[in-house]
């Protein structure tokens, strides 16, 4: 099972002829992801890493039956790439690009919803179902197949926690980096509900950070809708208000978005929240020892 991606996912890479696109396309292929084509406007007809490059997503889809896309297109053109993917019937769009203008993100968001596709990101490390498929830039070797789902706003922290889990012998069903921007395609609640439905997932780790109210909304959802145990972690307890902490969305504004408020909301919803990434892994291990 796993969520969003699996061994049957057929992906294209938008921006495959660029440095990042090519590098990560190769890594994804090595991991076993079915990369069926690349798209770079103007480079159609050429070949990269043994797959054909097309000028448009539509051509790529028509010729290969692709149903997913990973986007490595510079920020100024990334929204256009997402719109094109949604318009061409791509079901799963993973946008790695950082620094997309927020007004572009708003438009992307609504276009993707209208098309009924799933957008992961932008400004995210992607998604992995260990042993099956990986769409993104994650360090694949630290993951291990298993039954814990991870959903996270932070890339490196996702790796840290997955790594700790794997070291304790606990594998993951699917790991989703939803991205650190203010406007993201898929939020905690959507991913949590997919995990709740997924037969392979037995427990979920939610990794949040300062900024916005997404974690509080997620807490509400967990309390009301989820039967599976959730362990949480929130970064930025000591972050000063009014400063953007690396991610565009990681900022405490007008008293909203503090780590304390998120931790409180999660704990109220029965989520055990680890104080350190190691403690998070230990809390998950405890669930499995019961």
């Amino acid at each position: 099972m796993a969520i969003i991606v699996n061994e049957n996912t057929r992906a294209i890479v938008q921006g495959i002829t660029g440095y990042q696109g090519k590098f990560h396309a190769e890594r994804m292929m090595k991991y076993g992801t079915k990369i069926v084509a690349g798209v770079t406007p103007g480079k159609g007809g050429s070949e990269v890493l043994g797959v054909k490059v097309y000028d448009s997503v539509r051509e790529a889809v028509e010729n290969t039956g692709a149903n997913a896309s990973v986007i490595f297109v510079p920020a100024a053109f990334a929204a256009d790439a997402v719109m094109e993917a949604a318009d061409s019937g791509i079901e799963v769009i993973v946008c790695i690009t950082e620094g997309i203008p927020v007004h572009d993100e708003l438009k992307m968001y609504w276009r993707v919803k209208e098309a009924g596709s799933v957008l992961i990101g932008p400004n995210c490390p992607g998604i992995i179902s260990p042993g099956k498929s990986h769409l993104g830039i994650m360090p694949t070797q630290i993951f291990k197949p298993g039954s814990v789902g991870i959903v996270s706003r932070s890339g490196t922290l996702t790796y840290q926690i997955a790594y700790n889990l794997s070291k304790l012998g606990i594998g993951q069903s699917t790991v989703v980096g939803i991205g650190g921007d203010r406007i993201i395609g898929t939020d905690f609640v959507e991913i949590l509900s997919m995990f709740e439905e997924d037969a392979e997932t037995e427990a979920v780790v939610l990794v949040g950070e300062i900024g916005g109210r997404d974690e509080e909304v997620a807490a509400e959802f967990i309390r009301e809708e989820m039967s599976k145990p959730v362990v949480g972690y929130i970064a930025g307890l000591t972050a000063p208000p009014g400063k953007r902490m690396g991610h565009a969305g990681a900022i405490i504004e007008g008293g909203v978005g503090t780590a304390e408020s998120k931790i409180r909301a999660l704990e109220k919803a029965g989520v055990e929240v680890g104080k350190t990434p190691m403690e998070v892994a230990e809390l998950v291990a405890k669930l499995f020892r019961k």
Binding site: S154, T158, G212, G255
Partner: protein, 378 residues
Amino acid sequence: MRLHEYQAKQIFSRHGIKTAKGEIAVSVDEVESIARKLGGKVVLKSQILVGGRGKAGGIMKAFSVEEAVEKAKELFGKIIKGHVVEKIYVEELVQIEREMYAGLTVDRAGKGVTAILSSVGGMDIEEIAVKHPEKIAKVTINPKWGLWDYQIRQLLINSQMPKDYWKEVNAILRTLYSILMHYEAELVEINPLVATPEGLIAADARLNIDDSALFRHRELETFRDYTEADQTERIAMEKGLNYVKLDGTIGVLANGAGMAMSTMDLIYLQGGKPANFLDIGGGASAEVVREAMNLILMDKNVKTVFINIFGGITRCDDVARGLIQALAEISVPIVVRLAGTNEEEGRRIMEEFAREKENVHIVETMEEGAKKAVELGR
């Protein structure tokens, strides 16, 4: 990028929102001549990029040219909320009959633009929300459909706006929305929006442009004002590093924003205080690490540095080789934790280096590293 009031007002008035007559001054002499031109009764408004200037003494009224000169002398060079006053906007004093609030902002939860209108103004919007919740109204606009009249009516009704102002407020909200969309702003705000005998005037103006969209608005580049930004944060910005100044003693260098935040938190849990937050991003080359170290050590409060790297695409052995070069001449205590891709090789290289450099300490986990950094910083 946050614009100064006088810059935002230029844009607002160009689009048809009324503002009081005024000019920007950088010297007492300039204040004098502007005040004279405006008839003596003026407001002196320090142009600093921070909210709550009024309460902090950054806005002064003068009723004669002489008084304006005196107040200008007092205001120039004054430090308000950590910002030095270098520019003063001199504006004609207007007769205020009523203060209101109008603002629009990108709304992350609603995935749209939220318009906020209040029939009272002059204080923080959070404060208005607490003191006069019945006089504040919000509506979220889906950018796909844009702003419609019924939504404005909803704002006018729900904010208990007197009908005398409906027509003008409607026009102002429409203009603000088009400014927000045109300049790809994160926030446009008029607070207070004042009723005067001559109609509604934007007595203050705020416009925050999305930095990521600036490449499409080159004309705004000239508005960029670096003078106030923390010097180190500015250098970091120019080098493409993500640096935030904090007030503790332990320098934090990590790859990835989440990792950097988590590292800060761990230090705090151990009873220490981070001096800064530095995210070196993805490819941590020797050059980047060296620049990052220089930035961290520019802060004289830094007693020790914790380098916390989780290699993903980045390989620990590459990072280790970079670190060795970057740390060769640094003598403050350094705690290094390397995990992830090629961890063993990376740690082997670091350990060899640490045998000869007494100030370099290698740890296995980030939790352990935070503890060690706090101990060494005591």
